[in-house]
């Protein structure tokens, strides 16, 4: 589980995260939405241990996580596939970097290529793959790392609407079968409510949590849920929190 308390971060004089506290129980899915530049990626990088926050406490599975690396599978906003590795070798990058057995990671990846719609592309170079395929491969790499906590920074950001829907449905199903604790950063309110159990709305920089909206539907969820009346009222709540925090204050 993830526990964040009184988190603050500044880059020199720029206050990015003002005061953020939340927790995500084991096996739960938390989505973070907020205007561009409000510190969402910064938050994930702190959780990943890549960045030490100016102040506050971060626990992952009961251990202090500040500056502790290698306990979460972090997927950055860019796919970051290594151009000198073929698709299959890219899938095992996380597992290899963790020092896991390469052969086992390869076998596991090969099994997942089919499910990720990448079958037949095992030996392709990243530059030979479409944007959507690259993003799916980056997601696959994140799973194959074999860690419980997944930190996903706009994993579907570069995809067209149709592929995006497909992958959302697919991710929801995958996570229903495989227990993971997830923090997902996204700009897409539908995506947040469709996938997550709880949605945190961040205010503009410096980020604070301006609203918490529950999404209490059982998994896996049908994509037509987005037309459900209750879903729409929750979406309105998120949008309102986003809007209140928007330019009207200025």
């Amino acid at each position: 589980m993830i526990l964040v308390e009184g988190l603050q971060h500044s880059f020199e004089s720029l206050d990015v995260i003002a005061d953020v506290s939340f927790s995500v129980d084991r096996g739960r899915f938390c989505a973070v939405v907020g205007p561009s530049g409000c510190g969402k990626s910064t938050l994930l990088r702190i959780l990943a241990g890549l960045l030490a926050p100016s102040d506050g406490r971060v626990d992952i599975d009961g251990h202090r996580a500040v500056g502790r690396i290698g306990h979460t599978a972090y997927m950055a906003q860019r796919d970051l596939l290594l151009p000198w590795r073929r698709a299959l070798a890219n899938a095992t990058v996380g597992a290899e970097a963790r020092g896991l057995d390469r052969r086992a990671a390869r076998t596991q990846s090969l099994g997942l290529f089919e499910r990720f719609g990448l079958a037949g592309f095992e030996r392709s170079w990243p530059h030979q793959m479409s944007g959507g395929m690259r993003q799916r491969l980056a997601l696959l790499r994140t799973f194959v790392a074999g860690l419980d906590v997944l930190l996903l920074d706009e994993p579907f950001g570069a995809l067209d609407a149709i592929t995006r829907r497909d992958l959302q449905t697919w991710l929801d199903q995958f996570l229903t079968e495989n227990q993971h604790t997830v923090v997902l950063v996204t700009h897409d309110v539908d995506e947040a409510l469709l996938l997550a159990d709880e949605v945190l709305v961040l205010s503009p920089r410096p980020g604070t949590i301006s609203a918490r909206v529950q999404s209490p539907y059982p998994h896996p969820r049908p994509s037509r849920l987005v037309t459900d009346a209750d879903f729409i009222s929750r979406k309105a709540a998120v949008l309102e929190a986003l809007g209140q925090a928007g330019p009207r204050t200025g």
């Binding site: 241990g49 890549l50 972090y74 950055a76 290594l82 000198w84 990058v93 290899e96 970097a97 530059h127």
Partner: protein, 258 residues
């Protein structure tokens, strides 16, 4: 079929151009042979090649040895310096002016001094070749290492990968293509560097062969020497290109399209 035709389309125009040039040269120089021994006709150069062919292999062997050892020395020191310089900003500030200065000393000036220090053997030529190779390799490898996307490094770190993992998975592969680019540039001078070293003082080598021919006013033989040097350079260049092709498979597609 297609690849053969493509290769033909690639090589035919330059080959034809060379043939036309040689023909013109033959026509022009053939008439003035007696008056102008400094520019012998290609046919006379060919005869000189056939005549001195038995002498050439041992000279070629010497020059090739010097070049090969010098290139290896230059590349390995270049890579080491690149690693130090890119990982340690202070080293860059200290070494950069020295690196640039090392390139401004003309080889023709340096070579006699090296012969004085290191004798008539292989050593001074190896040093000349290494110096010629060292700079382009260092500069391009340093650039390659410094331009590594920081997010790749973060990706490996986020999974707990340490320095060794980083080196193997990111730094080395990222530095290879620029290293080869630098090596390709410097190879065109490497053989010439050995030859210049030999022409100053040597007991064997193509540089010695050219210098002797020059002193004997055998300009046809001088051209033989120059032609052999050119062929050697091109062979080395192709070897390195093949090595780059083998070691950097991800670059193949982009190579072909550009």
């Amino acid at each position: 079929m297609n690849t053969v035709r493509a290769a033909m389309r690639e090589t035919a125009p330059p080959a034809l151009f060379v043939v036309v040039l040689l023909a013109l040269w033959e026509l022009w120089a053939g008439q003035s042979t007696s008056r102008n021994p400094v520019l012998p006709a290609p046919s006379r150069i060919w005869h000189a090649l056939v005549d001195t062919a038995p002498l050439l292999p041992s000279h070629v062997r010497t020059t090739l040895t010097e070049t090969a050892v010098g290139v290896l020395l230059g590349v390995s020191t270049g890579v080491i310096v690149a690693v130090v310089v890119s990982g340690w900003p202070l080293a860059r500030r200290v070494l950069h002016p020295l690196l640039v200065a090392s390139q401004t000393v003309p080889i023709q000036v340096l070579a006699p001094l090296l012969v004085l220090w290191a004798g008539f053997g292989l050593a001074p030529k190896i040093i000349v070749v290494a110096l010629v190779v060292f700079f382009p390799v260092t500069v391009s490898t340093t650039a390659g290492l410094q331009n590594v996307d920081l997010e790749y490094i973060e990706l490996i770190r986020s999974f707990g990968g340490g320095r060794a993992v980083l080196l193997r998975m990111v730094m080395i592969p990222a530095a290879l293509p620029p290293l080869f680019a630098g090596l390709r540039i410097s190879l065109t001078y490497a053989v010439a560097g050995a030859v210049i070293g030999e022409s100053i003082g040597a007991t064997s080598g193509l540089g010695l062969y050219i210098a002797r021919s020059q002193r004997a006013f055998r300009y046809d033989q001088v051209f033989v020497g120059v032609a052999v040097v050119t062929v050697l350079s091109m062979v080395l260049f192709s070897l390195v290109s093949v090595l780059a092709w083998v070691l950097c498979p991800w670059q193949r597609q982009t190579d072909r399209s550009t």
